[in-house]
Amino acid sequence: MSGSEAAPDAEPEAAPESESFTGQSVRRFEDRRILTGEAEYIHDKAPEGTLELALVRSVHAHAEIESIDTAKAEDHPDCELVLTAEDLKEHYNPQPCGLNGFEEWSLADGKVRFAGEPIAAVVARDRYAAEDVAELVNVRYDKLPPVAGASEARKDEVLVHEDEGTNVPDSEHLTFGDPGIAFEEADHVVEGEYSWGRVSGVPLETAGAVAEYDPEGDTFHIDCNIQLHTLVDDTVFETLGYDPDDVYINVPPDVGGSFGTKIAIHRYVNLVAMASHQLGGTPVKFVEDRVENLQGGDVHCSERDYRVRLAVDDDGTMRGLDVFFTDDFGAWPHYPINQVLKPLSVLTNSYHIDHAEYEYELVLTNKTAQTAYRGFGVDPHHYALEMVVDEAARELGMDPTEFRRQNLIDPDQMPYVLPSKNVYDSGDYPEALRRIEAMIEDERDGGLLDPEVVAEKRKEGKYRGTQPSVVIEPGVSGSDWTDRQRSDRDALADRTPDDADELPEHLRAEVAEDGTVRAYLATDSSGQGHQTLVAQLLADELGILPSDVAVDYLDSVDAPTEYGSAASRMAVMLSGAAEGVGEELRENLVELAADYWGVDPGDVSYRDGGVDRVDGDDRLELSDLADVDAVRLGESGTYAEFDYPHPARDVPEFDEAFARKYPVYPTAAYGANAPIVEVDVNTGEVDILEFYTVRDCGTMLNPMIVEGQAHGGIAQGIGAALMEEFAYDDNAQPTATTLFEYLLPSIKNVPDIEMDHTVTPSPFTETGAKGVGEGGMIDAPASVATAINAALDPLGVTADRLPFTPDRARRRLREAGVGPGTDGEGGDAVTDGGGSGRGSHDGRFDHADSAGGDRR
């Protein structure tokens, strides 16, 4: 093993100085195999004799399938198998969907509902041959008019699913406190409309799966890079029509990124399993190519149109919040439908607001389905909320930073119960705001934001600005609330907290013959460094070196059903589980040693990788204990497992959220950001000159990893704010089907990130750590948008539509009378930034025509 031992010139933080490894920037054990090319990702798996699968995909967004002629394909000498929905329906089941009542087959059944939807699968010796064969499948379509956007879909003129009778299969309107009164009494009601473009994680590794059916055992053995393989395995075994115990799903230790997206790759997993089954057990592999991934991989994420109202008083007090949005889910409501609910966990962000309304409509259109993506629907919520806060500050004529400061939740209010019943565990938001302001102070004086520099730049048409704010990252999701949309909502009123059913985190550890420790995770990883993290934690628990802990993964059958690596859970759940399993293992080892020596367990004690007799006479090292255990019969004394219960279960503040099935996220990490942006008003280009951020995620288990996560999250947030989008044309044809169009931030787009940390431990978790996996993506888009608002404030233009691409920037500037060739003198500044302004005191939105006018 390699990794954690400090290099001779290592930076101080890499060498453990304190007693514990936890909290140190221990270098990663995962790195070596990756750096040398040895790491085996799913694309590399190919058991002897593996055949490859390719898909025939729909060229139309919406059409009846008249016929599928497979004869020519079957005649191809390399063709081993062709599958269509007809074959699937004979042997298998539809795939479970996120909402009840949808029958989705792994291959389109009779009708295609998005461009790129798989219609037939072919299998051949390799992918080259499979594509040759796929080209010979002839599909005849009867085209139907497509529906390409939420506002159009809500009219229900064209139905994506006729049986459903509507394109809005799920919606909810929740009221917290008394928003009616708040809005009526407030001095001002400010309203804005904001759009969030369809983005997603787009990990560098595409989906892949290799399945081998075992005819003797009638079982399936599937390697794939699905995320949450112990949770979402039902999307596979139910589809195959097998018991969970007969479908072994394994995820390689190295997955080339997921960010939530690979939760929903079950279609591919099912198809390779079915193909291997049909071929009597020959292994079949599928590797999604990039065009498939972007166009029809079921992996887009939120596309939202918001209307938000904020009730504020003259003195700057925020009284009420009213949020309405539509989310364009694409053709099928897949699993992560509950991302429309997650924003409830941070409903009012860092602000104290007692009264709120929250309403959404989940809309189906002729686009590829949504999956989860880092942030899980919170990122657009924060964006919309921060936008309306800016709007309100403008209307009140208040400094937007002061306005924010005045409404921040105070440290004495912690733990703070939100109107939507989630609880913020700890934090000092005013302090975070103070710090971020201190960080940019130098820039205001002789730096990037020096008034003279700013004025000089404006003469060239370059507008600079920043807007500090504090943004919350909810962490460590519970699982009980996640099926709210499949529950009888009327029955929820009668529930008690005890009805909530939470999933624990499972961890196993055993002592190997050589005295090293082997741990088994019941989750999967995709670059977060979980092996390193568990090695650190267990090393501390057992008083050994992290390099003496090897960490492996369990398959879906071996592992109990549990949530896994999502929703910023792992740091917290794994620390709890490691503490539990460590204690258990120490106890077992003590008993084993006592048994061996024939003494009372009270006469021995565990210390630093071995057990001592209290009388000092003897010691058994871990390797000795392994020997002792090997000759013993019966229960193993060198093995332990532990299920760490969800930390919110024991915190009474969460009871109401549990009872009502509202999102429960017991940790609230936060970031205060101040990206300094420069908008070239002549070309609409936005340049982020420097990204300042102060972050607090409680105790940092491995600061190096924490910072790395934040860097990556911020880069993704910048992408969502400025570059990335899965756009569609009026025929619902995707216009971003390669990475030339779906623009991932390149090294030239990501600025220097200047990061500072504060540490406010969580009172609700074992180590004080908070979930941190989604930071950056959750907060950076809102921060970039408000920085743009600040920069363009003199021109009255706001970033009311993300990504704020150069053409959209120019459109807004044009509307504000800022012509090209602006040298800072020109331009009719108007104060109304498109679509926003005063709202009404009476009544909410006219939904029929709100949310989503300008889709250009």
């Binding site: 750096l35 694309h43 080259y128 990124g257 790395g708």
Partner: protein
């Protein structure tokens, strides 16, 4: 689609002979076979990662006669007579990490690692041409590689550290 619908039973093939990570290799390949697939599939060099197959991500970058090339946009048959180096070829005897690999490890310049081979190989070319690159030069030199995980911050650090190691004529990494 070619005019002829009847599938060819005998695909055309070509003989090639090349050097891969110092070893001479001969093979018979279909002309359509991409260099990336040849290296991964026939040579077992899975460190050649494939992220897009259209020349954007750079995960498949290898050195062909010392120059960085996206192996998904080169045919195996075109590499006939060339010398190829992949990330596997950088690792020293006994598995010692190359100073660039070491620098990436020490600075946490990789997370999921799918882009890493490409970045390491591109860094090799960059440092050979410019042993002491500033941030702009690094930006320019790594413009063909996309990383979705790290936000590039630590990749700058890694390249700078690798350049320092090259300066010192050795590298500090002790944990190979």
């Amino acid at each position: 689609m070619s005019v002829d619908d009847t599938p060819q039973t005998e695909p055309p093939t070509e003989e090639i002979s090349l050097t891969v990570n110092g070893e001479t290799v001969s093979a018979e390949v279909e002309p359509r076979l991409k260099l990336s697939d040849f290296l991964r599939r026939e040579q077992g060099l899975r460190g050649v990662r494939v992220g897009c197959e259209h020349g954007v991500c750079g995960a498949c970058t290898v050195l062909v006669d010392g120059k960085g090339v996206k192996s998904c946009l080169m045919l195996a048959v075109q590499a006939d007579g060339s010398e190829i180096t992949t990330v596997e070829g950088l690792t020293g005897d006994g598995g010692a990490l190359h100073p660039i690999q070491e620098a990436f490890h020490e600075t946490h310049a990789l997370q999921c690692g799918f882009c890493t081979s490409g970045f390491v190989v591109a860094t090799k070319e960059l440092l050979e041409e410019n042993p002491d690159p500033d941030r702009d030069a690094i930006e320019h030199g790594l413009a063909d590689n996309v990383c979705r995980c790290t936000g590039y911050q630590n990749i700058y650090e890694a390249v700078e550290r690798a350049a320092d190691y090259a300066d010192e004529g050795s590298h500090g990494g002790g944990d190979g």
